[in-house]
Symmetry: D2
Subunit: 264 residues, 4 copies
Amino acid sequence: DRPLTVIAGPCQLESTDHAQMIAGTMKQACDAAGAQFIFKASYDKANRTSLSGRRGLGLETGLDILAEVRKAIGVPVLTDIHERGQCAPAAAVCDVLQIPAFLCRQTDLLLAAGETGAAINVKKGQFLAPWDMDNVVAKIESTGNTRILLTERGSSFGYNTLVADMRALPRMAQTGYPVVMDATHSVQQPGGQGASSGGQREFAPVMARAAVAVGVAAVFIETHEAPDTAPSDGPNMIPLGEMAALIRTLMDFDRLAKANPITI
Amino acid sequence: DRPLTVIAGPCQLESTDHAQMIAGTMKQACDAAGAQFIFKASYDKANRTSLSGRRGLGLETGLDILAEVRKAIGVPVLTDIHERGQCAPAAAVCDVLQIPAFLCRQTDLLLAAGETGAAINVKKGQFLAPWDMDNVVAKIESTGNTRILLTERGSSFGYNTLVADMRALPRMAQTGYPVVMDATHSVQQPGGQGASSGGQREFAPVMARAAVAVGVAAVFIETHEAPDTAPSDGPNMIPLGEMAALIRTLMDFDRLAKANPITI
Amino acid sequence: DRPLTVIAGPCQLESTDHAQMIAGTMKQACDAAGAQFIFKASYDKANRTSLSGRRGLGLETGLDILAEVRKAIGVPVLTDIHERGQCAPAAAVCDVLQIPAFLCRQTDLLLAAGETGAAINVKKGQFLAPWDMDNVVAKIESTGNTRILLTERGSSFGYNTLVADMRALPRMAQTGYPVVMDATHSVQQPGGQGASSGGQREFAPVMARAAVAVGVAAVFIETHEAPDTAPSDGPNMIPLGEMAALIRTLMDFDRLAKANPITI
Amino acid sequence: DRPLTVIAGPCQLESTDHAQMIAGTMKQACDAAGAQFIFKASYDKANRTSLSGRRGLGLETGLDILAEVRKAIGVPVLTDIHERGQCAPAAAVCDVLQIPAFLCRQTDLLLAAGETGAAINVKKGQFLAPWDMDNVVAKIESTGNTRILLTERGSSFGYNTLVADMRALPRMAQTGYPVVMDATHSVQQPGGQGASSGGQREFAPVMARAAVAVGVAAVFIETHEAPDTAPSDGPNMIPLGEMAALIRTLMDFDRLAKANPITI
């Protein structure tokens, strides 16, 4: 099995300089640790808890920045799309299109994304069982696109709380597609701060490490040089300064896991 | 407080005749029981469990049928919309636009719906707490539209199961907006049949009656003359032939509840 | 079907005078409303959240007080037991022995309780499905005792939260035994205040009314003249002064429900 | 930090020979892998799903067998106790007394166990949050006994399903006491086969490995040479023949985890 891929970046794009700084720092950390790296950032936060949450730079500006990161830093880039019409322009720039968890059953969005031919990373909805993703996969496959990734990002567990079920990882792997662990959204507390989501950043490495030990193709981690002042998802992002050490450790666990694969 | 409103109809539109038959039957039953009636049907099932599930007649044909029902039967009509661009055409025909549960945090959709000036019924996401709807309400209010309804349709409870928390009804009522109990989707078993959702039709009257006793503005009930052969949601729809008796009983409970309001 | 029974009393026994005052007040309220009444109180809170919570008066003193209430007020009495050895002495005094929710699968306790011949009220564990109670019932029936009641008191729903599933009521009724809705423990927040449980007293009437509308044999409601200073369960008990009106309303709903029974 | 301890054995005692065979096989596997080993077995299954489930050999016979295993194989032994009176006799034989999950808030049982001076392993109830265990710990500490272990064995997640939250491990470790991952009960499906619990044996290594990677003091694994014919918990026990390889892998993960401790 191939070594772990790290999908990382800030929750939302802020500027070209900011994106390149994070992408550059992360690439260096991943190169040093022997991990693949994909830069992730959103041009639009389309489902903020409240209207007062910052939305982002928008499709056009956002894609421009992603294109620049891709070229300047030399890394594949991923962004999330929210309506059919965004798929083609996003795919013209990005290597991976991401389907947000709330939208993972929207058939038209899945089809439009699949038809671009880009790789498609689907976040499993907080309201879905791992095996429900079989149907999601089949929707995308119907477009002829089999470049699919499936991401665990936690299941609803009472109010304002998520829980990540480690069984979901090998179960989703039964589809034959790479499975990703989203370590930072799994520790979100949706709506937990009233007008915004809370989070338990301290548990993100717990999630990442557990998942890598079980065996995953990739981890998804949002990071920021100063999470507490980030425009979104600050409570659960990992400080950029801690990422190199985290990735180094994850790679050690990844080697051990891939030498001892679990199959169910 | 005004008497109970019944929002009812088939899960998806099948034909003009079919829609008018159900709308006519329901109107008669509601008139007889002293209930308000709003006809509900979908022109597109945009998030079917699997690709093999029937999608519906589409926006144009669907809205034509809804317009005919509205005129021929003389009842307000409600349909659900899935992307921004559908709001204006749907609002040109329908009295109430409905935001599907999975989409209840999609800011652009809420704003586009709100801007039409139509009444907006938002289904609470299976992944949201009742108080999280305060932020959803504020998004719509920002458009100047205060014709809002909030619907309980169950919360995720482990895998492939929903549970309806009766506390959600008075809590959402604290927003000041009418609260609706969706009695048939609350008993859905999402993805429970592998490639489609299961349901426990026999419990739908349990949900409706409990909610009406607590005190709600409306109940939402999907119905079909032959649920087992309906193109979607058969397992949880109530047979049309049972609706008149159910509504009669619900109106008795409604009178008692409204004479003895609960406030929290 | 027989009219609603009200099982009510303070969470724990405090003194003879206190118990008789509450029992007398409740009997009067129930008589006036046409409800049956069973006095409930605990001699020992055997599973307090923390050691600092008050335990109660103990088996001997407690049973003496219950015997006095039974005689002086002329009402059946119910108490909960925690180990086999407590069953016989408690049954010598009490009409109903109650199995606490945490203990509802302890075979020996169920058998010892059943063997007394007293009526047995089993609270469904927060960790059990309604259908799991079929096995609990069979354990008691094996003693030849078929005087069984089954109580819904909420299911675990994430951390420190319960949710009451109204479907549990008709499902448990399929056993053929009377079903009880515990309106005050269903709104507990277990461990929700760190060293003690929180509660949402304001929602207890919501639970009671919903359940009575669905159709139950009895409601279980803890009450106290000054809940905020009660030695246990203050946050979810209903003030004694509000009970007469609540019971009156519940009886109205009960009559309507029993005239229109739901069967599943 | 000390190397991983493995707490393992059959769900229930069957005979002296059987117990010694399993204990001997496990000791050899643990010695070879450098793991500490504690033999676990129950003399009584006091909360079987249904009455038809086999209970076990009883206190006296069971303790005799455990004493023989302890002496013949030279390993510490653990058993679970269900009523106060069982604590002293069990502690006369066993190194560790275990409080079953359903009983983890029964104050008297915790105190009686604590007073024996034996080490006490408390399984976190399926209905408790990790932080609720702080109060459980304080109950035992009040006896002066600070030889405490805390075990994660899954939380209720809808009906007949558990989910293991990896965050519970570092959170419970904040008490300062060793944390144990129960890999086989976490994958139980309580009541999932009607009259008995189901289980997903194939996921037990997933749970064990994830927990060890996060960092735990011990794993708890039930094992049997022929799980499908075992008198209890067959569906979730790991075949004895697979244990040596599993423990070897877990020790590799343990070394890596302990060299890179996570603190929250």
